[in-house]
Symmetry: C2
Subunit: 495 residues, 2 copies
Amino acid sequence: MQLSLTRQGNCPLYRQITNQMREYIRAGAIPVGSRLPTVRELASQYNLTRLTVHTAYAELQSEGLVEAVVGRGTFVAARLPIPTTVQATLDLPAPPPPAWSSQGLLADMMRMTEHPDLLSFAQAIPEATTYPTHELGRSLRSALENPAALSYGSTQGELALREQVAHILLDRGIVTSPELVLITSGAQQAIDLALRALVSPTDVVFVEEPTYVGALELAAQRNQRIIGIPVDASGIKLDALEAACQHYHPRLLYLIPTFHNPTGLSLAAERRQALLRLARTYDFFIFEDDVAGMLAYDDPALPALKALDTEGRVIYGTSFSKMLLPGIRLGMIVAPEAHLLSLLAAKRTSDLFCSPLLQHALADYLHRHHLSAHLQRVRPIYHERRDAILSALQRHMEQCSWTQPAGGFNLWVMLPPQINERDFYLQAIEHGVGFAPGAAFFTQPQARASLRLSFGSHSPTRIEQGVAILGNLLRQQLAEIERLATRTGMTGSLL
Amino acid sequence: MQLSLTRQGNCPLYRQITNQMREYIRAGAIPVGSRLPTVRELASQYNLTRLTVHTAYAELQSEGLVEAVVGRGTFVAARLPIPTTVQATLDLPAPPPPAWSSQGLLADMMRMTEHPDLLSFAQAIPEATTYPTHELGRSLRSALENPAALSYGSTQGELALREQVAHILLDRGIVTSPELVLITSGAQQAIDLALRALVSPTDVVFVEEPTYVGALELAAQRNQRIIGIPVDASGIKLDALEAACQHYHPRLLYLIPTFHNPTGLSLAAERRQALLRLARTYDFFIFEDDVAGMLAYDDPALPALKALDTEGRVIYGTSFSKMLLPGIRLGMIVAPEAHLLSLLAAKRTSDLFCSPLLQHALADYLHRHHLSAHLQRVRPIYHERRDAILSALQRHMEQCSWTQPAGGFNLWVMLPPQINERDFYLQAIEHGVGFAPGAAFFTQPQARASLRLSFGSHSPTRIEQGVAILGNLLRQQLAEIERLATRTGMTGSLL
């Protein structure tokens, strides 16, 4: 590496270093993983101050091109970020920083469940009293008598369960066969397997903006290039999607078309066919996450996108966690035939198979037609709670706007523009109420504070209490901002 | 790119092109993914015949440096192979091809379990009649009464189980705390999580040669650079390991030091400390796979390598599949503290958590001290079967050599050099006996045919029957080769 630096002109020395090194790194002339000269070495070689070199290195680091390792030096980053020049000219959303880092937030959300005193709307948990303990106990006893349930299982999943799954998916409009069903450890593993099997780390993956936290964390961990596509009240915006397709050539769109997480809204019927046409035109696959699809309150939900898929573009994934109970940790993929083998290989290398004991128990439970009875029992409960939260929001948080889900148990609230999300979040916890802060669901920072309220596990009375506390807190914060604005004569409205 | 070619000297033109282009590619001067000039362009630019350029490109392609795409041209390969010059001078094994592809073989082995008539030694399965159905049923009933067992679980695993696990690991010499235990979906997921958390795809991973099929398939799926280190009767060869360390800078060594899969042998005591010293000197981590560590026949096995690990270099993984039963699909990692958070993030993105229902049931089972009673019951069974298979090999397959495991239920057989592994494998199945062919366990093709016999699930009588059939087949094949050699006057001994 040879730098050519000049003290003439008005480009500062540190920027000349940054620019030239960036070129070297992008061209591969300084290979990935190699150590840069130390600050001291470079300063002495080119007769520069150490501060100049240090500033240049910090700049490269902030661009994601190099990484500093304490005590070891500065190294060319293993995964170079996408050049930003492309985006700038296209006026498309910039790609997210290489590591989406709500890890602390996820840890917070986990910790919330361990606080018995906290009234938490953070996690999307079903009502525990509906869990079919008795029926499941009987099915487990029956499974224990089956020798196949105790030994090694099939990677694809036990046939008895796959048959039942193919049957219940008819309710989502999906006509499939047990041969195309793959049993997974919940929907999270379904997403992970789809990425492992279909998507290389250099491929671009599209997601809705906002979307499920677990998909974002997975993408960040893979260093996957992800692009968020905005949604409106009818779901993903197809014009924005098409514009992005023209420039990023996505391999996969991760989508929650029915009772979307976090908003609770569904993709409109007229957009579904158009979306599949786009998938064909731009040759990408869709992972359809349908974890809440069975939880429509009144009218049945629209059929799954998979039901419209005539050419194997949709990988369908769901889980029994929301519709039945989380504790059995079982979900599924309905695979396009062309991808079945690579999905099976991904499952095999991930964890070989799911517990056949649980699979046979669940198959027995489903075989006895308990699921439809269970769904008939739980839907009115979530309906009542949805009504309770809408009514409470109306009375206590009229300064906000929110969504009106027709199924599932997630609801999205946009706070007034003056409110700072982190302040509101931390103070709410101090006042005894938890929620999932909006930032967790986006690939990029958002100007407007928002939050997700998951109301599945709380009675109408508790919902009313919790929202009242949030409403009080909101009024206090707005009053304090108003007081400061009046006193100082400033608005702070751009902050 | 500028080539400097001369018609003087005795280096042919095509080789000069190959040599110089190789340098350019390795230096990054022709970036990964970029298109080389067409054969026609380069020939015309340097006044060469097209055949010369074509030969040079074919050479680069066979080295894995470039890839030809029909109709589009020749491109610098996305993943450059490890330079072979290093190996040539060191007499080290060449790196494996990028995709280890025993997928068909794994599918075969899966299919074998579905053939009720086949006497299969292919899969390492415990004796099914030892599965503790009754005790487990009681523990499951108890778990069903625990509301925590039905809802979302902790990513790290239920504390009740982690406490029990920390306790039983004392038997392997491991003193740890529940805070460092992470519950996994079997040992396969433990390996997968360790790679996800600690190893980037460009890192080099060492494995024993031979080693566990599932680790090889996982590495191939990740396109991981893996290097096999040979073993002898005392385990991994430390001189070969050190020589390889000096050139490949491994990030991780995947190791099965106790009742190794597939050989059944254990790493000698005196090599264990020396191995940890090497890990320190060359700064790599060790994943210790200990799935059979609890299954010593007489004398207890050597303590786990983890028991000697004073500086957090060993990630310990095991599973209840061999020591108890596969159907509950639970295993664990004991993590070095520094890697706990990234292992947890890997678990979260993989499948969030393991079924708390099964975890609480297993915790209850362990809490009642059933495991040690179970182990006392099963060890003599596997001991007797090991004796049966040794005796049968002695009587029916004296032309072979084999290992003498002191625990677990895998044994390794080397066939006479005349025998072709695939022929023997397919014919054995035709004769009603299955086994795991040796090729599945190596990163590279082997000259000598070998096989793994897993005898855990077969009675001494069945073992005798199966080995007798293999012995008959072997004699037939040897006789046929002898007959052909006599008739033709050829030996074919190098084939």
